[in-house]
């Protein structure tokens, strides 16, 4: 059974204080790993897809990295507008329908 565990559950940072969110996964062959951002009362917003170990992707203050067992979302010099819940999901090679398994998310709050 595919599993995704995100840590920490919640994280409080001061503006400018860099940190990393973790997504560890167990999957029968990883086809893709996805990061989303979710603001309160809204649907998840796509950030990144990673396909193979060693791959990195960046967008503004965010950088996602992937190993064979986990992914990290690095946040450099965060701002209050980066406050949100960050979700990680995996898609295995097996099974049809492009089904994703999600973690429960990390709730990030960035304070002034």
């Amino acid at each position: 059974e595919d599993q995704v565990t995100q840590s920490p559950e919640a994280l409080r940072l001061q503006e400018g204080e860099s940190s990393s969110l973790n997504c560890s996964y167990t999957v029968s062959g990883l086809r893709g790993l996805f990061w989303y951002r979710q603001d309160p009362g809204k649907g998840p917003e796509f950030l990144f897809t990673l396909y193979s170990a060693g791959e990195e992707k960046e967008k503004e203050r965010l950088k996602a990295t992937l190993t064979k067992k986990e992914s990290f979302l690095h946040i450099t010099a965060p701002k209050p507008e980066d406050s949100a819940t960050y979700l990680c999901a995996v898609r295995p090679y097996t099974g049809g329908g492009n089904k994703l398994t999600f973690g429960t998310g990390t709730q990030l709050k960035v304070e002034l």
């Binding site: 649907g43 089904k99 998310g105």
Partner: protein, 113 residues
């Protein structure tokens, strides 16, 4: 914005009543999905569709049915709503142009009293 709308956005209903949620997309995507999101569980797949009249179950499909009679609409029906179905429901699509990324709608908050 993947051109996804959900209706209604909020609904309060009573136990035992039927409820239908609608997901509408404007860009002719083949794959559509229904998820529910609950504290401590993350997003869980209820049903998905891979074409008109082609649907399959997800991990939490009991008590739910779906229909897709045209490409743009994917309906989720709770035949007889229960309090355990109080949740936020999200629709998602996967673009047909390749890649595996799913894009989500704004959600429907359903409360079953």
């Amino acid at each position: 914005d993947a051109g996804i709308t959900q209706s209604p956005r909020h609904k309060v209903t009573e136990t035992g009543t039927p409820v239908t949620l609608r997901c509408h997309q404007t860009e002719n995507h083949r794959y559509m999905y229904w998820y529910r999101q609950d504290p401590g569980h993350g997003l869980r797949l209820i049903h998905y569709s891979y074409g008109v009249k082609d649907t399959d179950k997800g991990e939490v499909s009991d008590g739910y049915s779906v229909s897709r009679s045209k490409t743009e609409d994917f309906l989720l029906t709770l035949e007889s709503a229960t309090s355990s179905q109080t949740s936020v429901y999200f629709c998602a699509i996967k673009e047909a142009s390749g890649g595996d990324t799913q894009y989500f709608g704004p959600g429907t908050r359903l409360t079953v009293l």
